[in-house]
Amino acid sequence: MARQAGPMRTMIDSARVLVCCGSGGVGKTTTAAAIAVEAARLGRRVVVITIDPAKRLADALGMSGRLGNEPIRLDLPDDHPNDHRGELWAMMLDAKETFDDLVRREARHSRQVDDILGNPFYVNIASRLSGSQEYMAAEKLFELRDDDRFDLVVVDTPPSREALDFLDAPKKLTNFLDHRVYRWLVAPARGGLKIVNFAAQPILRTIGRVIGADVLADAVDFFRAFEGIEDGFRDRARAVDRLLRSDETKYLVVASPRSDTVNEALYFTEQLGRAGVVTGGLVVNRLQPMFGRGSAKSATANARRAEKDGDATLALLHENLARLRAIGEAEEVSIRPLLDRLSDVPIARVTQRADDVHDLQAVSEIGTSILAG
């Protein structure tokens, strides 16, 4: 079937990196996986970076219990004889492990690696500092972008209300590691002193009293161990930042037809624009199917008529149709502002299934309907 590629397909064809962003609960992970499956079937060598996929999705893709911080190759659904058959790879982001790898790569000697990785303050930063997960998703994306095995990297972003959490993550982390506080905390060590003199710094003394002096001492040790590799970190973060803002990285906003998630998607779009990044496309998930072209109102009128005629079954059928159309119409009203805002980008509408089945076939159908747009 040699049909001309639609705008969504064209957009995704032109991407080396596709970032799926949106608020929690809109089906972002499923969307990322579905696009990856379809793009692989169309001949791309795709790797999808997932963040905490639901067990059912992991099962559907055959990756349950196998996913870690390194990509593994998955089987494609094989019922399409005309497929161009690319490759499908998937991995589940482990922010801490990615951070550890980065430290190992940038450190100057193995003792420095041990000092950093063994420090309790480092463990906190790597696993819990706000923005760490976002930055490590970006870092992984950068790494895989340069991996010859793949020609498309699809990224599911951590749930957030702020699109900038992801885009700003490289800058935020380097600012943190490069901060004045850090220099200030480490300064006495540069002067040749072995121990930071807390008593000499009234603020440190106060903070030490509130959170405990040993906790603060760990922080100082960490910054000291980190000395000398900030430059490497900074260069790397700059390169990651460039990739996030380059033309080959496309951003796909994912939403569902509820007024709150639509508002969040609008906010995301606005934030992307403010960061100088263009929204490449929109996926609206979980739309209820429309049954015919008529309105809820006409179905209600038909129900009344059937009632008058004494046909209870027909009245019930029309009543039911009216209810479902009312939901569909309400969804259209909810998503209208988003469709208007993004009228110049490709938009895919994904209808929900009534049966709640979530196997590879279902995921693959979602991918097909997105790329057909």
Partner: protein, 305 residues
């Protein structure tokens, strides 16, 4: 505290429960941790009233007792932090501590410190009287599930990382409040579909584990958006649904209702009945009338509340 994954209608459920409780005669304080424009209206305030989310009275209960009321307040991490620094005698330094990044370093040295301070502030609000008397119930519209877990873990985490001082005492007090079933309950919200129910059951086992970091007691589990149409299901089962859009719509609805029934039953089995089902309202942007209707349904399950 009301918690649930994004998109399950957590804020709606908070509004429904607040209205149900006010109708039972309770003085309710709703605390939101995000700016939720429109929450005041869902709670029964008039649009354009310009509730400042600062503890204002938004509405009164419809119950016979005439004592029920709802107040509304937003609580942010930065407000909680500023307040805390002030109580530690650092009010004048607060701005500088934030701008120089000292606060970032401290927050990373003792992760969860901001979460703990938010919970500490909530604990403070529980003890505080509103303009019309002490609150009977503080209902927190919690963050989305992932963050809710780290929020609820923060007291235990801080109590372990910080080995002394005022922060540690704060952590222990908050942890004790959360673990006391007479003072705190966690209300989990989900949708009647497979993945949300699976995720709820996972979350449930984490939060209620008595050896875990959280060890809270659950309130009712709320299933939001449950569709129920036995007449349509029967019609489809009897084979009287025609081909075409009328029949397609009937089959779609019947299949969906069957999924919802199955998932609610699965939760009921796991939870021994402590499940509150709220019917699906066929409207995209809910109004206060919808919330009132749902609150009456919730109120009719007084044993669960």
């Amino acid at each position: 505290m009301v918690a649930g994954k994004g998109g399950v209608g957590k804020t709606t459920v908070t509004a429904v429960l607040a209205n149900a409780a006010a109708n039972l005669g309770l003085r309710v304080l709703v605390v939101t941790l995000d700016d939720r424009p429109g929450l005041d209206v869902l709670l029964g305030g008039s649009p354009g009233d310009g509730a400042s989310y600062d503890g204002d009275l938004v509405s009164v209960g419809r119950g016979d007792s005439g004592t029920g009321s709802i107040h509304l307040r937003t609580l942010s991490a930065s407000e909680a932090l500023q307040d805390y620094l002030a109580t530690q005698g650092l009010a004048r330094l607060a701005k500088r501590l934030v701008s120089t990044g000292v606060v970032d370093v401290v927050a990373s040295a003792a992760p969860g410190i901001d979460d703990l301070l938010v919970l500490g502030k909530i604990k403070h609000l529980v003890g505080l009287a509103g303009p019309d008397g002490p609150h009977d119930l503080v209902l927190v519209d919690g963050p989305a599930a992932g963050h809710a877990l780290s929020l609820l873990r923060s007291p235990a985490n801080i109590a372990t990382t910080v080995r002394g001082g005022p922060l540690r005492s704060q952590a222990i007090e908050v942890r004790d409040m959360l673990r006391d079933p007479n003072r705190s309950r966690l209300i989990l919200v989900t949708l009647p579909e497979t993945t949300p129910v699976n995720e709820l059951l996972e979350t449930m086992s984490v939060v209620t584990d008595s050896n875990g970091d959280i060890a809270m007691t659950l309130g009712p589990v709320v299933v939001n958006g449950v569709d129920h149409a036995p007449d349509v299901e029967e019609l489809v089962a009897s084979g009287s649904a025609p081909t075409g859009e009328l029949g397609d719509a009937a089959r779609f609805r019947a299949t969906k209702c069957a999924v919802h029934r199955r998932e609610v039953a699965r939760l009921d089995d796991e939870l021994g009945g402590a499940v509150l089902s709220l019917p699906h309202v066929a409207r995209a942007g809910l109004t206060h009338d919808d919330v009132s209707y749902l609150a009456d349904i919730a109120g009719s399950h007084e044993e669960l509340l």
